[in-house]
Amino acid sequence: MAFYVARRTLSIALVLVLISLIVFVAIHVLPGSAATLILGEYATPESLRALERDMGLDRPFVLQYAAWMGGVVTGDWGYSLAMKQPVTAIVGLRLRNSALLAGFALVAVALIAVPLGTLAALRRGRWLDLAILTGSYIGISVPEFVTGMVLILVLAGPSLHLFPTGDYAPLAAGLRTWLSHLVLPALTLTLVLLAHVLRQTRSGLVEVLQSAYVRTARLKGATERRVVARHALRNGLLPAVTVIALDLGYLMGGIVVVEEVFAYPGMGRLILYAIQNRDVPLLQVSILIIAATYAFANFAADLAYAWLDPRIRYQ
């Protein structure tokens, strides 16, 4: 097991280095540089040259990458080219915000999807199953900006105004204020992600419920509750765990639209900003964080598999 963990960690590190190289190449292929975007329509050839020199963008590509890598190895993540601040300071707040939103959304998804999926599996083919499936389909079919907008207009509009339209508040502003800002974006994401987990739970459980060992459990006289909770669910949840792990990665960087709609400063918007401004140091760190989240969430899912299903062993 220890060997397995070490091997996986090492391969994740390798993947991250490769990703950093790909991002670096990709951003150099795009037209323009951070200097052209900082100066915008005020640029002159002289100011462009001066700024590119100041930011080290006039050096050969390999040297730029080596310098960045050298910094990372020594713990210096560099300065954002557009915001002129240490990358760590900028990323810190966004990472915390994204983690918070992702955490809320995932907990909500798990708490709603797993019971509903179980219910649907147990009532397979009946109207309740159909209603649950249809409802979750609607959630995933409507684009998130529409869901978000509708929630804003209805729940944050002047007539009801139950929650703020978006933004975020520090915990220092009070628990209620802090939470109230998270409700609408988290709800939007929950509606969008519900179907993934719900359907995996349902199909996983349906399959398991038909298996031999569940029949055995029933035959030996176990109560239905015990059969489902102790025997079936543990196995039936395996596919859902993978989906939750992938959703975590998505929530940490892929929800640009939701973050834009709710004016929520998270990692998604930051990455978009970094790309639009050719802000290489900022982009590198942000992408690496997302990539690492994906990689480690998958890793954690694999470990959870072994825990849920003792037959699975890693060498």
């Binding site: 001066a50 700024l51 002129k84 400063p265």
Partner: protein
């Protein structure tokens, strides 16, 4: 005009001459204070983009300019009537025919870092802007400064390469905020810290998301500002921004699109504000190569534009029709010329005369933001089609537009905000050295460019007026741009925000005298 409870209290109190004692016996001291008090409260402003930095030497977006206006002072400032008035400088005078300008600083003004503002700070700030290593975006816009000297503790002298009549107006530019010397050593740090003397000091800055400033108690205009704090928050999605405003989560929307503007106007208790200015989008026709090197082709295209319809379609009729030159009636040297009206017959005739009887095809590239660029190109395409112009409109992301289209001698749509003076925008557009000459027009029109130089170099107002009028006529008939209209700046605020006046340069957001009435959500008693 509405007559509020406050007005009632005030007027009856003055009439009876027993305001304070009566109010105090009836309501107690704290209520009496709150009733007559403009002080206190937080003003919450929203915008939709741009808040990367608060470094005055390097910022280029309206939201950033707004924020530094609260943190810093300039030597001079532009009031809502667009007059240049004193700020840190109490007075100024020209000598040597406008080549030397001397500014006398106000005494006793404090920086937030607790030191007096002196001439050395102004000198250091200007030298930083002018230093090529700084790569300040406005180095070219701030005027032909040769050297800056501190004559004594409170006197700054600018020596220019050539006389420049409008120089004091240049000191109102967002780049010309006076930074304390201590802040200029590390320009990176200046991106998130402030070294100003303005009415507010920095409390929190989250780049790309929000800035919060708080009242500076030792501000030089004693008793001001009235507000305790101001926040500026970025809402990337305009519909969210409007909903937040309607729910009174924000008090003021800085810049609203025309369709959302009508919603603000329809909200009871909200004031929709529209101020005519000099902001425009222009179609740039590179005049150094075919087909636009023939002035008849340029004129033909100008004749196809129905300006009234275009303004109505793009900006909801909030604006002023323009004559293909960048001087609007907001500027002192605006010349009233007959407005060009659409005439397809004339357009066709001109094209035929120029040897393009069979029509002309060309491409206009536009950046995806702001939307006015694409809107203008698409409408022009339709309006010009009957005259024989086949226009292909290509929409690009802003980064590709900057790298491949902007100022590269091809047709595209530019976008310009109101400048302090007509000279600033004219030089920017037409002068090959001090500006961009995006239309590649200057080489073939040396005489017209000379007019601009003469007009800025003389202090004789009548002569300037004549030269600028002459230039506007040339630019209208022969110039390399189609400028169909100037769009008004649109904003919205709640009625409880008082004494707020929108400047035609809408980023010049002066909040010193703004106050909140007692029914504002964030007004502390």
């Amino acid at each position: 005009m509405t007559y509020s409870r406050r007005d009632f209290l005030r007027s009856t109190a003055i009439g009876a001459g027993l305001a304070a004692p009566l109010a105090q016996t009836l309501f107690g001291p704290s209520v009496a204070r709150a009733q007559g008090d403009k002080h206190g409260g937080t003003l919450r402003i929203s915008a939709t983009f741009g808040l990367s930095t608060i470094n005055p030497v390097a910022h280029i977006s309206g939201a950033e300019w707004m924020a530094t206006r609260w943190l810093y002072n300039n030597l001079t400032r532009l009031n809502v009537k667009r007059e240049v008035v004193p700020d840190l400088a109490e007075s100024w005078a020209a000598s040597e025919g406008g080549r030397v300008w001397t500014f006398k600083l106000r005494r006793g003004v404090q920086f937030h870092i607790g030191r007096e503002v002196v001439a050395d700070d102004a000198v250091a700030t200007m030298q930083t802007i002018l230093d090529p290593k700084t790569a300040s975006p406005y180095r070219g816009e701030i005027g032909p400064i040769e050297r800056v000297d501190a004559i004594d503790k409170y006197t700054v002298r600018f020596t220019l390469r050539v006389p420049f009549a409008d120089f004091p107006a240049m000191m109102t530019l967002p780049v010309a905020r006076i930074v304390a010397r201590e802040g200029l050593g590390d320009l990176k740090a200046l991106a998130a810290k402030e070294f100003g003397s303005g009415p507010f000091r920095l409390r929190e800055f989250v780049p790309g998301d929000r800035v919060t400033v708080e009242r500076f108690p030792s501000y030089y205009r004693s008793g001001l500002p009235y507000l305790d704090a101001v926040t500026l928050k970025i809402f990337p999605e305009p519909t969210t921004e409007l909903t937040a405003f309607k729910g009174k989560e924000t008090d003021l929307i800085w810049d609203v699109s025309p369709d959302l503007f009508s919603q603000v106007a329809g909200t009871p208790g909200a004031d929709a504000m529209a101020v005519p200015g000099g902001t425009f989008a222009n179609v740039i026709l590179p005049s150094d190569k075919p087909p636009f090197n023939d002035s008849r082709v340029r004129e033909a295209l100008k004749y196809t534009v129905d300006r009234t319809k275009m303004l109505a379609a793009i900006h909801g009729a909030h604006g002023e029709l323009a004559n293909d030159h960048p001087v609007s009636s907001a500027y002192t040297f605006y010349a009233q010329l007959p407005l060009r009206t659409p005439d397809l017959g004339k357009a066709k005739a001109l094209l035929r005369e120029a040897g393009h009887g069979g029509g002309i095809s060309f491409k206009i590239s536009v950046a995806a933001s702001p939307p006015i660029r694409e809107q203008m190109a698409v409408i022009l395409k339709e309006m010009a089609k009957p005259a024989g112009f086949n226009i292909d409109v290509e929409v690009l992301p802003y980064d590709r537009y900057l790298a491949q289209v902007w100022n590269k001698g091809v047709p595209y749509v530019g976008f310009y905000a109101t400048r302090p003076t007509a000279d600033t925008i004219l030089m920017k557009l037409y002068h090959p050295k001090d500006g961009l000459d995006e239309g590649r027009w200057a080489p073939s029109h040396a005489e017209a460019v000379k007019m601009l130089e003469q007009a800025r170099e003389t202090l004789d107002v009548a002569q300037r007026r004549r030269l600028y009028a002459q230039f506007q006529k040339v630019a209208r008939d022969d110039g390399p741009f189609i400028i169909p209209f100037f769009r008004s700046e649109l904003s919205g605020k709640w009625a409880y925000v008082r004494d707020f006046r929108l400047n035609a340069s809408n980023f010049e957001m002066d909040l010193e005298e703004v106050w909140l009435t007692a029914d504002a959500p964030r007004k502390k008693a």
